[in-house]
């Protein structure tokens, strides 16, 4: 079981801030493919991965990062703090 979190416009497109998913994916990219196959709103949110960033267990990661042992994955646009 994996907690998947969404922020900013990714959250708005998907329509919820977090969910728990059962996944067989071994990488972030594999998880994205599973989510995209679910419903149109996911396909829309993940249509351009270059516009997205990902964190695995609250650390910035790449889309090819492994999910082994991960508890939490978050997807969001590039950050705009400061």
């Amino acid at each position: 079981m994996l907690d998947v979190l969404y922020f900013a416009w990714v959250r708005e497109r998907i329509g919820e801030p977090r969910e728990t998913v059962e996944t067989g994916a071994t990488t972030v990219a594999g998880l994205v493919d599973e989510l995209k196959a679910r419903e149109e709103r996911y396909a829309l949110a993940f249509s351009d991965l270059s516009a997205l960033r990902v964190a695995v267990d609250q650390e910035l990661a790449d889309f090819d990062a492994p999910l082994a042992g991960a508890r939490e994955v978050a997807f969001f646009p590039p950050m705009t703090g400061g």
Binding site: F7, A55, E59, A74, P78, M79, T80, G81, G82
Partner: protein
Amino acid sequence: MRIRVQEEPFDPGAELDGFGAGADVGAVVSFTGMVRGDGGLSRMEIEHYPGMTEKAIAAIAGEAVARWNLADCLVIHRHGPMRPGERIMMVATASRHRASAFEAAEFLMDYLKSRAPFWKKEYGADGAEWVAARDEDEDALGRW
């Protein structure tokens, strides 16, 4: 090192009172970021990633302290609703000399902008829009 992520406004004067007090400190630099009312902006909403935000800021501040040998370092960043003229965030650095205090403050600002999980949404005359990250902000990290 003092790091706070909060919805409430803060008072930079009160925060800086006593900051960096010590015989080995020769310079205190502070920066305060404000909400600009550009283009009819009526309000702003800042979303963040509770948990990761605090960790990311602590890592950034920790690096600044180590790299510039800071005597102290302060980061306050707000989230939630804000209006033009309100303070969004502040950083302060204390060191032996001013060059390191200024540089460390710039480093903190550059990294907080692009590596701390905050997202700004602006509400203006034309509706609401998420602020897009700028290439210059990403490029600014290259100088460190």
